[in-house]
């Protein structure tokens, strides 16, 4: 099958009209998710085979208008018009019209029709109309619009065959809406007058040609009339009389809506029945000042707890599975230490760390798909908008931000619930500032070592809570600055529709979760594995044959008191890291970290934690010669850090340095999975690089500031 031979059908329509449900019903599992070149918008395509014929389908992002007002809308509109470089020009548009929201959907249809594309209409939500007692005159709608109108109910499979047949027919014999927009009365009147005048001189000219000429879009008519001064003059007169009418084109929304309302009244006279009573009754509870807030808090608590606790055992299971796999492979490779380490510490660790993100992604998107499918997500956004609006985000941002407290990777992916690219990008860029669960061990270790012994359990608790607020507090001015300076594009007014409550459609829920997981593993996963191998290389090399023997020799020269604390294997491991590229870089950048009060051991730990901050405690274990198997509750590690000295005998860390180190970890971008997810979601390296730079820069400045204040205050 050659791609250009296959006909392309584009599903277009308003957001929430039912395009994706229809797309799922048409294409099933044949979906492919990619990106349009250079933009954040996803390109979702699939393939349909029906009665021996086949065609491709593309699910175009929802549009309220063909007049794009943001970068994402420009892409969607570009796909509709078949702009080169985005995708093949669609041979047919399936315009998805929500029957319960006919006027606004017809507004969009009028723009499509005017652009002259061949169209088939798929009429969705007719089951809701039937349930609430209003029949729609679909034959009349088809006559009025001049195209085929096929009612569909995607999740029940109703009308899908009929739609497929209509698509095949229309691919053979395309129908462009016989559609005289006739939107602006003044323009209409002038078109009529000119048509009449021309008819008197036996000129038969199409109304659309006259309209184009009057609105200045074409000069075809002017050229034809040039030999007849009297007619040219009439045309010119009509044009100048229109010039005084504001908005003389056909783009005026009010006229379009007048047209849409006229059509709606003819096919669906009683729109008042469309108020769906059950939804109103539920909303009386759910968007109410008191119960609404309580339900919201409860729902968010369940979502957050599920990601936080349910994912834990699954992640441990995946980790254990990979360890088991490593042990299984190890005997085969033990002859070649480099290969053994490459496969087990590099490759398996990398692949394992990709997969450990899956439980959280799956759980979060399961919740998002369910909340979105029931209609609650829109209500929650309505409740939260004011709170998030004042710092330049909007109500929908709470899902990505809240989930980022568990893990930024699913949080960043969840930012696709944001309606416009600007606020989506802002949300993505601050999500990793939320204190994810991987930061917790650092806090527990250092608070246990430096705060609790001195100030007691109460202050330890306060400090732990405070550490969780650091990122949040920094995020607010960061969003404000980003909106002011870095993120381009006009801010669109926030609009949100409240759809009627429904049961979620399980196939759509499943496909959403499946496609998010697949996209993460395929694209972000590749980046994570490659980076894991790079990091492995830096931590393993240079290493030569005699090194291990030399370290063993060194070990025997240590005092017996020291040897009692430090096991031989752990000593060797520490020396190997110290000697590796990573350790050497750590030592080389020590001077840069001196103003923050960190020595090479801490700076190397920071370097080791850049791929994933999860490893920070085990890195500290290795650096302090206790082995990589220690955890944050390990008292030996705690003591080792408390007792660590500078070469001149001063203690390495005090309360201030400990807080500085924690704040560094709170703000720093130490998670390549996050960067990979940002690359995937923004489809560019620019934003991950930007994020890494600003977060790491902030972290460094904050650590330095805290240490310096500490020096001043403790004299």
């Amino acid at each position: 099958m050659i791609a250009t031979d296959t006909r392309l059908v584009a599903l277009v329509g308003n957001p929430n009209a039912g395009k994706t449900s229809l797309f799922n019903a048409l294409t099933g599992a044949s979906q492919r998710v990619g990106n349009y070149p250079g933009v954040t918008v996803e390109k979702v395509t699939g393939h349909v085979r029906f009665e021996g014929k086949e065609f491709d389908v593309i699910d175009v992002p929802g549009l309220y208008s063909l007049q794009p007002q943001s970068a994402d809308e420009e892409v969607a509109a570009g796909v509709v018009h078949g702009e080169p470089g985005l995708s093949q020009k669609p041979d047919l548009l399936v315009c998805v019209l929500d029957a319960t929201n006919l006027e606004r959907n017809l507004f969009f249809f009028s723009q499509l029709a005017e652009a002259g594309h061949p169209i088939v209409v798929a009429l969705t939500m007719t089951d809701l109309l039937a349930k609430h007692g209003t029949p729609i005159d679909q034959a009349r709608l088809s006559r009025l619009l001049g195209v085929d109108v096929i009612p569909v109910v995607a999740h029940k499979g109703t009308g899908i065959k009929e739609l497929e047949r209509a698509i095949l027919d229309n691919l053979e014999h395309p129908m462009v809406p016989a559609f005289d927009v006739g939107l602006k009365p003044e323009l209409d009147a002038q078109v009529d007058a000119i048509a009449e005048r021309l008819a008197r001189d036996a000129f038969d000219v199409e109304r659309s040609t006259i309209r184009d000429s009057l609105s200045g879009e074409s000069t075809e008519l002017d050229e034809r009339l040039a030999p007849f001064p009297e007619l040219s003059e009439a045309l010119e007169e009509a044009r100048s009389s229109l010039a005084s009418v504001p908005d003389k084109g056909c783009t005026d929304p009010a006229s379009r809506y007048n047209w849409a309302a006229r059509i709606r009244r003819q096919v669906l006279p009683d729109a008042s029945l469309k108020r769906i009573r059950t939804s109103d009754r539920i909303d009386a509870l759910l968007i109410n000042r008191f119960t609404g807030m309580i339900v919201f808090a409860a729902v968010m608590f369940v979502v957050f707890q599920s990601i936080y606790t349910l994912a834990g055992p699954l992640m441990d299971g995946i980790g254990a599975g990979f360890e088991w796999l490593g042990d299984l492979i190890r005997p085969w490779l033990s002859g070649v230490p480099v290969l053994e380490s490459l496969v087990i510490d590099g490759l398996l660790t990398g692949v394992g760390s990709v997969l450990t993100f899956l439980p959280q992604i799956i759980i979060l998107f399961l919740f998002i798909a369910i909340l979105e499918g029931t209609g609650y997500l829109a209500r929650a956004a309505f409740l939260m908008d004011r709170l998030l609006g004042w710092c330049g985000l909007n109500g929908r941002a709470f899902i990505p931000l809240l989930s980022s407290f568990a893990c930024a990777v699913p949080g960043i992916m969840a930012a696709r619930v944001m309606p416009d690219p600007k606020s989506r990008l802002a949300t993505i860029l601050v999500s990793p500032l939320m204190s994810c669960s991987a930061r917790l061990p650092v806090y527990i270790l250092l608070i246990g070592a430096f705060i609790q012994p001195r100030y007691g359990a109460l202050w330890a608790g306060v400090a732990l809570f405070g550490m969780h607020l650091v990122g949040l507090a920094v995020a607010i001015p960061v969003v404000a600055l980003l909106n002011r300076g870095v993120l381009k594009g006009r801010r669109l007014p926030f609009v949100l529709e409240l759809p009627p409550y429904q049961w979620p459609k399980w196939r759509d829920v499943f496909l959403t979760v499946f496609s998010r997981a697949k996209v993460f593993v395929q694209t972000a996963g590749t980046i994570i594995v490659v980076l894991s191998l790079v990091i492995w290389f830096l931590g393993y090399f240079p290493r030569s044959e005699g090194d291990e023997e030399r370290y063993r020799g060194e070990y025997t020269t240590l005092t017996s008191a020291t040897r009692k604390h430090i096991e031989e294997e752990n000593y060797i491991r520490q020396r190997q890291i110290e000697n590796s590229f990573l350790g050497r870089i750590g030592k080389a950048i020590e001077p840069a970290f001196l103003p923050a009060g960190f020595d090479w051991r801490l700076s190397t730990t920071i370097l080791m934690a850049f791929p994933a901050r999860e490893v920070v405690v085990s890195s500290l274990g290795i650096i302090f010669s206790l082995g990589g198997e220690v955890d944050e509750a390990n008292t030996d590690l705690r003591t080792a850090i408390q007792d660590a000295r500078w070469p001149d005998g001063r203690p390495l860390m005090n309360g201030w340095t400990a807080v500085g180190f924690m704040v560094f970890f709170a703000l720093c971008c130490q998670c390549m999975a996050t960067l990979a997810a940002v690359k995937r979601e923004t489809n560019s390296w620019k934003w991950p690089v930007f994020m890494f730079t600003y977060m790491t820069g902030l972290a460094y400045l904050a650590a330095v500031a805290i240490h310096q204040v500490g020096l001043l205050l403790s004299g």
Binding site: T100, D385, V495, L496, L498
Partner: protein
């Protein structure tokens, strides 16, 4: 007063009021999106709900329920229908 009709700004609407759009400021480009959503001259709507923190508001318009922020609708004048 516009053409003999008592008008108020969109942001002055209260929960439960019915309104009709009298005019939309043509010089405010941000209002184009709201017009595309159906808030055009002559459109009638009901103010359904005001969010607990005072903004946004939800209106029943052209058969569907639209939420928007009051301060982003500045420039839309409405007539209150009794």
């Amino acid at each position: 007063m516009v053409g003999g009709v008592e008008t108020i700004g969109f942001s002055e609407l209260k929960q439960g009021m019915r309104g009709r759009v009298v005019s939309v400021d043509p010089h405010a480009p941000a209002l184009l999106r709201l017009q595309e959503m159906g808030l055009t001259e002559g459109a009638e709507f009901l103010v359904d709900k005001v969010a607990p923190l005072g903004d946004p508001v939800e209106i029943f318009l052209r058969g569907y329920r639209l939420c928007l922020r009051k301060h982003e609708a500045v420039g839309i004048l409405v007539e209150v229908i009794k």
